[in-house]
Structures are given as C-alpha cells and as structure tokens.
Symmetry: D2
Subunit: 371 residues, 4 copies
C-alpha cells in the first residue's frame, strides 16, 4: 500500500476531502473488456450512502458516481478508470468550532502535528466520506470478478453491536438485506434498533464487529511470505476509518484453542478437498484453500458525540468540546459495504497476481482434481 | 508489501527454506553511518533461537548471522545489507512422510495446489524458520532507530496462553526477560509452565496472544489513508506465520465500547499533549500520537501435533497423519521477538517516510510545543 | 513506475483519454504547507496547450485545470491533490476512419491486440493529450521545489529539428521564450519556421531533439544502483509519447570519447567542487554532483500525416490510410514543457527520497564545505 | 525500480560490494516449475567474467554462483531464489590511494557527499562487479522465458567502439561469439583489437555502443503509459554502470526523420502483421508489436586511466590522481552480457504482467489471426 494507493496489479488511488468539491478513485490495472457503466457502481454506493435509515448520519449526499475515463462503449479498455463523486451537502458551518479544538478520538491532532495544517471541514481527508471512493472501486472489482471468477460471492454483515452479538444459530443470509444493520440475525437487529435509538438520543455512540465472507474463491490465491492473502486483507480492513482489530477465521480466539481443536481435517470430495471445519478462515500459509474466506473487523464507536469531552486547542489551552454536526451513532453499520469493497479489491488483485506468476488455474493437482 | 519484501523506504527482502543451505535477508534503504556489526544482531537472534528452553522446539540451530555487504569499517554505507544465516541442523529424515500427505493446518496443501511443487523438508519456505531473517532485519532497524530516535523502545511479551491471560495488575516489565514465556506476570508464567508441560507430553499444542509496545515514538508517523501506521503494523504482524488476528489499542474490544468510554481525552503537559487513556493504541487517523503504540496478535496453536489427524495424499486418497519431528508446543513464545522485529522495521520505515515528505520533526505545533 | 503512476514518494497517477469528458492527475505525497492554487499551474499548461502557434495542432482546448482536493486555504495539506482538465473540443467525426484501420507508427494496433478494444477517438489513452496531466503535476512539483530547494531551476528547449541542429555558440537562454520552437538559437528558429511551413503544407512531419536542464540541484540526489537519478530521468522521458532515445550528459556521444577526454576533472571552489567539464551531465554513479543535470531526448515525427500509408484493417485486409484530423507537424515542440515537467517531478521525488534516507543536506563534507 | 530492486512481478534485488566477501541477487516472483540449476546460470556469468581476453580487466574471479534457495529437486518452487557469488580476488592494496582522493568520472565523490562514507575498495557498491548479480538473475529469466515463450531469443553485440562503427552490411549473427568484442562484423572486430591494444598500452580507455535485440517477443507486452515496455528497457539499461544514453529502434536518429520515412507500413502475413521497416524498434505506444525489439546503449570510457587527472581530496585539497589497479580499457565489451540480462528480465516481467492483467495470449485478433 502506497500512501493513497492500495493494490498491486489492481491498483486503487483515492483522493478527496469531506467538504471539497468532489472525491474519487482512479482504478488502474483493471482487465480489459469488462462490461462497466455507472449503473453497475451506483447500487453499491447507495448501500453505503448516508441517510438510508435513522441509524446513520443525516447528511444528504446523492453520491452519484461519474466514470470519467477507462471505458469505451460500455467496456473497460485496460486503461485507468477515473471515478468521481461530487460533494453536494457541505454544511461547513457545522464544523467551525473544531478548527481550533482537537476532537478526542479524531485525527485532528495528529494531522495538525504532522502536516502543520489540515482541512477541518468535516474531518477533511480523514472523514469516513473517503470510503465512498473505496466502494466505487470495489464495484469495479466485483464486475471484473464476475467475468473472471463467476463463482466468487462477497458479502458482509454485522455480527456485534456494542456488547450484543448475533446468535450464530439464527444466521440467515437472506435476512442481511432486510434490516438497516445488515444483520443476519433478525432478533439481534431488533435489539440493536432499540439500543441505538437510546444511544442516539443520549448523544452517545457505540462500536461494532463486521464480518466479511468471500465465497467461491479458487484455491491458490495469495503469495507468501509478505504478500499473503490474509496480510493484504488485514491491511485493507485496518486501513478503513475507525477499525481497531482484524481477524481471519478463528481470529484472536485461535489463541485459546489447542492444536487438536484448531487443525481443520481434510477429506477428498468430488470437487476437491473438503475440510471438517474452517478455523483457518479459508487461508493456509497465506494462500486460499477454496473454503470461505472469513474476515472480521472491529469498528470503534464514533468519536463525534454530544457529551462534552476535555481537550486542548491549537494554542495548547485546555478546554471542552461537544461535537454536534451530523454523525453516525454506530459507524460500523456503514462499514459493511466498505469492508465488502475492500475484500473484492483484494481478491481480484490476488487473482491477477496469481495469473501473472503461475498462469490460469492451479499448477498442482490432487489425484485427478481439478479435471 | 511485495511478495517477499516488506517496507517502503526501509525495505526487507527475505529468502530461504527451512532445510536449504541458508536463509537470509537483504535490508535496503538503511540510513548510512549507523554503527552495525554482527554482535549487534546476534543477541536478537538468540532470543528467537530454538532450543532455549524445554518449551520450544529442540532443533539445534546456532543461528549465526553473517553480514555480507552494506557496511564498511563497522558502519552502514547506505547500500544493501545482506544478512545470511546458515542452516546446520537439517534432519530431513524427520519429514519424509509429509512429502505425500498434507498436514492439516499447514501450508502444504496450498503450496502444492498453487505452485505444483514444494520443498517438503521442514515446511520449506512456509516454516517459522523464515522469521529468523525478520529478526535479523529488525536488529538493523533497532540500531538505526537508536541513532535517529533514541527515545524509542520496543518490547513484546506474551499476555495469554490458551485461555489463560495475564493479570494486568501484576504487570512487571522487568519480569519479561526472567521467564521462558516473556511473561510480564510471574504468576501467569508459572501456570503456563505447568500447562505446557502437560500439553507437550500429550503431543498437543496451544495458541497465544502477544503484545508488542513501541514506546517513545514521536507523534506524526504514519500516512493516511492506506499507508497508515496501524495498517502497516497490521500487515506486518499478520504476515508472521500462524497469526490469525491483530489488534491496535482497544482492538476487537473497541466494538463493545461507547463513544464516551472510548475517546481518550486530551490535556496539555509540559512535554506535549497528555491523554487520559490509550484506547487508540497510540494511533489516530493512522498517525502516531506520541503515546505508546500498542499492538496485539494471536498465534494459533502449532498444527504439528502427535494426535493423528485425518487428511489426504497428493493422489487424493484419504489417510491419517501424525507430525513427529521437533516442534514448538506453543509457537507463540518464539513469536515475541519476531513481533518486536516487525514493529521495529515498521516504525523505522515510517520515520524515514515522514522525514521524506515532511522533514525532520513536526510541521505543526501546539502552543509553544515542541519548543 | 507502475502502470499509470510514476514516482516513489512524490507519486503521480494520470488518467483520461483524448476524447473522454476529462483527463487528470492525482498527485500524492506532496509536502504539506506549499502555496498552491490553480493560477500556479495554469501558465505551465498554457505553454503546452495546442494552438499557440501555427506550428502546433489547431485543436482548441482551453486546458483549464481544476484542483479538486489536497489544498486548504491555498496551501497543500499533504493529502492527494486531484487535478482535472475538461476536454471541450472533441470533434469525434475526424477519427471515424481509424476505428477500423491501424495507423502506421501509432499505438492503434498494439492496443487492439493487447486489450481487444480501444477508444479510437483521437488515440484515446495513447494520445499526446495525456501529457497535459503530466504538465499539471510538474507545476505542483515546481512549487514544492521552490519551497524546498529554491536554487533549482528547470528549463527545456529544442536543440534539433529534423537534421538541423542549433549552433551551441549562439545559445541564448533568454531567446528560448521568444520563438514558437523554444529554441535558444534565434537563427535556428528562423530556419525551422521556414522548414516547418513547407512540411506542414506537404502534409508531412518531422522529429526533434529536446534538451532539459536542471540547474541548482544539490549534490547527493539519487540512489544506486537501480533508483539512480539518471535511471529515473531516462524512464520519465522515455515514457513521453513518441520518444525514442534519451541521453544524459555526453549521451550516445560518450561512446566516441576516450577516458582522458571524458573524465571531468575536479577542483575546489569556494562553494564546493568545481568540474572542468560536464560530460557526466551532472550525475556520477546515479547521484547528482551539483553540476547542471543535462538530459536530451529524441521525439519521432508525428505519424499522423497526409501522405497515404499502407496498412491493414481489424479484419486483416490490406488498405491505405491518410490521417487527416488536426496534428502537430513537429510534436517535439510541445514536448518541451512535458520534458520539463517530468524533470521537475523526478528531481522533487529524489529530494524527498534523499531526505528520507539520509536527512536534510549531505552526510559527507569536503574539507570545510558545506559550512 | 526500488533502490536496489528492479522489476514488478519478476523482481530482482542485488547486493554486494566489489571487495566484500560476496555479492548476489534475490530473484522473487519467478514462475514455479522451471528447471534451474547452477549449470544453467554459470555460462552466462562466464561470458561476463573478467579476464576472458586481454581486452578486459585482469582481475581473476571464477564467479561461481551458488543457489541458496528457491529450488527443489532442480525446479523453481515459486519462492525467492537467492544467488550468491563469492569474491575471491580482492587485492585491496591496489585501491589504498583512492580512499582519500576522488577519481574523476567515478562515483567516489557523490557517494562520499551523499552518505558520508563509502567502501573505497574497488569502487564498493558502484563497481561494475555488481553487474555479475544482474547476469545471474538474467540467466534465471532466460530459463523462465524458455519455458513460457520459447520463441524468444535475446542477443547483444557491440556496434561501435570509440568512433568506429560496424558496417551493417557485414552483419553476421554467427560472428558475434567468435571474437572477444561480441562484434557481428569481423572486420570491425579486427580494427577494434588493434585500436584497443594501442589504447591499453597508453593507459587510456574508450567508449562503446551496445545493441541488444529481443526476437520472437509476442505482441501485446507492455503497459501504457508509464509502465511502457520501452520505458522499462530504458530504465534497465540506464541503470547499468557507465551508460549515458539509451535508444529504441531509430533512437536519437528518429529526430532527423520525416513522418513518411518513419512510419513503418503494415501488411498482413500468414503469421500476423508484417511491417515494412522497424523504426519503432518493435514497440508502439509502449507495447510490443511482435517485431524485433531493438535497443542500443552507449557506455562511456572507463574513468580509471593511467593518465594523471586533476582532482581533490576529502579534505578539499587539489591534487592529481592516477588510477592503477586492473581495469577494462573498454568496459563496453563486458556490458554486452549485462544488457542481455537486463533485457531478459524486462521481457519476462512484462510477460507476467500481461498475463496478470489480460491473461494468456492476446485479447484482440486481426481477421482470423491468431487462429
């Protein structure tokens, strides 16, 4: 990952501030010949868009994407795809106070110290608004994956809000799109709705855990020992605003397991190896096994809250701050489509990397498989 | 991170297999004029070396490092530093069985599928032995940090083995080097010793959680939004063998916090900002705050165990495997110096990156600080 | 250089096709605090703009640049600077013929073979129009250089058109901006004007040699052995459309010299080393000496000419083609500001790289210099 | 190109000084399953080895390569290939004088200024000895090319020594290996032998022009607009010690051509497009056409000569220097295998890159070709 670029062969460079004229992404290295128009990208942006429910910020942004380059007659040409989203609802007056005071938990103080100046309007570059550009890029990655590896399916959902986790026995994939929390457990969604209403009223916020699954990923993707698939997924997720932890498969819980519990045993199915469990999260030695790739990440609670917090000013004076503005009481909700987008970009990138070094398909076989 | 390279300006390329003639690292981009000789590196390798206690693999490797280039009269010249460690104790006979069978939880099956062939002796490139090269590179990074940012101190320790965590109230930094588990809690170390003796006898293994702290890191290091300091730390730690989760500060636990609990309040001290707590783990918006940088990672239990596990052969036949050889019952122990080394490399790299873009020190000030 | 990105710390990603809605550049890694507004960039674009004289294409493009991100209150913030230029004069009808036929000397055939499709309007991505984005990025680099290394001066000029070279004895730096050829020799400019009028009338075109000088570059920039300053300059220039050769200092002519002729002898001046000559072109071992950095590159004649040329169609049929449209009879003229821009980007990039690895200034001294 | 690394997917990192214990290369990203042993590499090193004829330095180095990693049972495993060459003939006494004085035309002064210290023995890292590592890496690239694109043939030769160029009408490919100058023109070789004997006796040296051809390269390799094939070739060649100019196809001579002369006309042959000429040097728009890729580079005369040259000391005193030691009177001779090696690495790298983004073969067709 370069400063504002991620990816190796499928490279995404994002730019833009929360309250500047626009934000965007340049997607480089996309395979040619992929059908792509704005209508392919817009639905994914709509999922992330603020103001979809009362549980997300009430900033009103249509988040309309424009494709400025890289396609011809509805297909990618292999040249860079420039995606732009205009900012329209920029109420700069909401942010006048924070130009002088550093909001605890925000990047205000570190940007100020590092760069000497920062765009204080809406958090500038450190705003979660930057993730719109990632979602747009992820939509391009999904289209390329659909063409190159049609079996791949990527979906994310919330598995915990605050201390309240879903019940895995109630997991219903179809439920995810039916509630505003992307929860696969309808009962949890109902509880979260109630809890978040209370938090919102009290001007507080709460953290969340998101899980993203990539299903149907062919085995063989990844590149030891530093370009591992899990390394890149960890970097991709940790780069999302407010993320404080990333797990693959058993994750932090792997520490509590014994070797006999943890080792996913292997049998032979008609479509390749079959594993008795998936503590590995679909990745062994940095390379995909063909199982579901399972990643979780924790999003901290929004630091923009109505409770006064002690802080200091640019002049070094101690003071208090209340962050009004329009904020997400649980920014984790809107992190779901962002996590999906990052996963899509990483999987595509490794598909291209694998094809570059090894060629299409697998160099090895197990018995007569693959045929 | 490139395939076998990590870092941006301070770049480390490692090579070598567990049972090849040697392994090593090429360290590129080191600042010139740093005092460096083999004796500066060896102690760190000795910390990671197998066979230090009965709790680590009994493979006997002296792990003697040779500097083949990049220094002149005991100082770095700014050119690539080639570090080589000869392999001496290569009992290949221990590994003859696994050339045909895939060990569950190991990279055997994925390497085979991806590349079509692999070096089965001791896990080849996927062996934890590769981490010796990281530790050697980390020792170089420590020397450069000592010259450029002498206040920086990097230390790691084990905070959990299996389900048994340390008691934070008993944290004693001086204790870390006194027990074979790098535990800061002597009581925990005693319990772990007992538990591990039992596990070892039963041929089983167990996971662990390691914490690595970088203290005295100047504020301003890191580069949003994809070259974040926490992004690079997450990638660095996730790239270590057997790591399944990475946390910064509050980590996965951040999900359970509310905004009022999580926001580290800021006051002004005589040496810069002072924070009331460190849920952020020393990083806001991807940039260091000056607080301790705190990272944790979970290491899964060694998959090489004596309990028979079901698996398949290269020919696709179902079978069982017992991994004899000499293995670590808790590979997390030896991951401590590896995590420290990765942290040292990342911190130095970001120090150079910051100097490149912004120059020495901070572009911003708070009141009259820094003077 | 990545596919559509160049630079290491100062990284420029360009996007856009000749006849798409817009083209642009994302400039990442710029130091913060640099004064920058659109008026700083526009004059450099105006130098490159088509239609300045009758010797360049009559396409009418205002080439107005918009800064979409990365500045706040007129200063760079250290975040990516997104620069956009709208395309306005897109007469697509001029290019209808070439969608089926491959123009000899153009990228039509290779883009078609590689990608399977291409944007044929105006050459799409392979159009020299892409260089507008480079010039905009170069203007940002110049502003940063002005702040960080104010002694640096970068200027280019044409030294040969067709077979007709300037007389070095008539070199007058002030003359460069006075004629439409950026010629430092007024007499050559007059001859070229006449020759080009004739060529234009006959529908033919001609090549040129451009020289770009970077004066006042501090010694010590560059990084052996693959990140050499001359390596990066060569890559930067060769990446410009139609460039077929790059020289540093004595260039290809160095082959004809003997060692006694070639070695630039060194004396000691009050401001550092003084060299008796500059066959090295200001670079030794890939690192700047403090002398003028001198680079030349050859631009081939525009392949778009009115003389019918034999070619084939997408269907493989043999045919003829005449490229009408609006073209530069000597595209080398407009390559001058492009070469300057690339030089500015490379010099700034290496200034940042040097500062990253070594720090401000030089690690070494000669006697008491620098003081 | 990173500081001591070049390539994108096929990445080569070299290390080592002229008079250190060893030098080497780590080759990362090589496709797996390629037959590779030391005997595949040694012949190429032997071509570059000093002391092959009286026209090259009399330093005696066997240049025996050892493969330390990355192969198993004679095949590449896809993991990094570490290649090491021991230095044996290190007569450090020859170089004692130059620790204090800067040799004109050498990197002594720039390394000293940049880094503050340098290894003066034999030029340290700036010695042409570093190119042995490139040749070893190039041999690996050749083996991979032989497996992936068996039609590719790469060969280099000298076309000019001093002012004396070959006669293209006498070009005989078979002659190249028959004389110590890699000259395709036997008459030129005879003249060069005589001239070089005289130069050697007078303690002088001379420059040369090398041409490297890659034949049989499939069309479609390269990646506009900054990852062009010619951009990467230019960078690769310019990074070789003493190179001052690089040309593709018509090269600097393209400036003197008109559009009608320069445009290579296209006809349709049974095996794809056929061009009437090759001014383009096999590359259009940065992408290979399928014609011969033709690159030339100029090597300056060795700066190590017996004629006294004026220079300064580390203390800034003016003095004279005579470079005794053992040097090549025409270092261009030994640059031939180096240029070939760099070409092999670049072609393979772009083959992998193309396969990554586009897949095997071409996305486009012309009529029914390729079938």
């Amino acid at each position: 990952m370069s400063i504002n670029t991620f990816g190796r062969l499928f490279r995404v460079t994002t730019w833009g501030e929360s309250h500047g004229p626009a934000l965007g992404a340049v997607v480089d290295g996309c395979p040619p010949g992929i059908a792509l128009c704005e209508a392919d990208i817009q639905p994914w942006l709509d999922r992330r868009r603020p103001g979809r429910s009362r549980y997300t910020t009430q900033r009103r942004e249509p988040d309309r994407v424009e494709i400025l380059s890289g396609t011809y007659e509805g297909r990618t040409t292999g040249t860079p795809i420039s995606l732009m989203i205009r900012n329209t609802d920029q109420r700069s007056k909401d942010y006048s106070d924070i130009a002088r005071k550093f909001r605890p938990g925000h990047a205000d103080i570190t940007y100020h110290l590092k760069y000497g100046l920062r765009d204080p309007r809406g958090g500038g570059r450190s705003s979660a608004r930057e993730t719109a550009a990632r979602v747009a890029a992820g939509a391009v990655a999904r289209k390329a994956l659909a063409a190159l590896a049609p079996a791949v399916e990527i979906f994310g959902y919330m598995v915990q809000m605050g201390e309240d986790a879903i019940d895995r026995d109630r997991f219903d994939k179809a439920e995810i799109d039916r509630n505003p929390f992307w929860s696969p457990d309808a009962a949890a969604a109902a509880r979260w709705a109630e809890a978040l209403d209370a938090l919102r009223k009290s001007g507080n916020s709460v953290g969340a855990v998101i899980e993203v699954v990539a299903r149907g990923v062919p085995p063989g993707l990844g590149a030891p020992v530093y370009g591992k698939l899990d390394t890149d997924i960890a970097a991709a997720m940790m780069s999302i605003n407010a993320v404080k932890g990333v797990e693959i498969g058993a994750g932090m819980g792997a520490a509590a397991l014994t070797g006999t519990e943890n080792a996913d045993e292997i049998a032979m199915g008609k479509d390749g190896p079959v594993f008795s469990s998936n503590h590995a999260g679909g990745i062994l030695g940095g390379i995909s096994t063909g199982q579901d790739i399972v990643c979780r990440f924790a999003v901290k609670p929004t630091s923009s809250i109505l409770t006064p917090r002690r802080t200091i000013t640019v002049e070094g004076e101690e003071t208090e701050i209340v962050t009004r503005g329009r904020h997400d009481p649980c920014v984790g909700i809107r992190a779901v489509p962002v996590g999906e987008a990052m996963m899509a970009c990483v999987i595509l990138d490794h598909l291209l990397l694998h094809r570059g070094q090894v060629g299409d398909g697998l160099a090895g076989r197990i018995g007569g498989w693959p045929g």
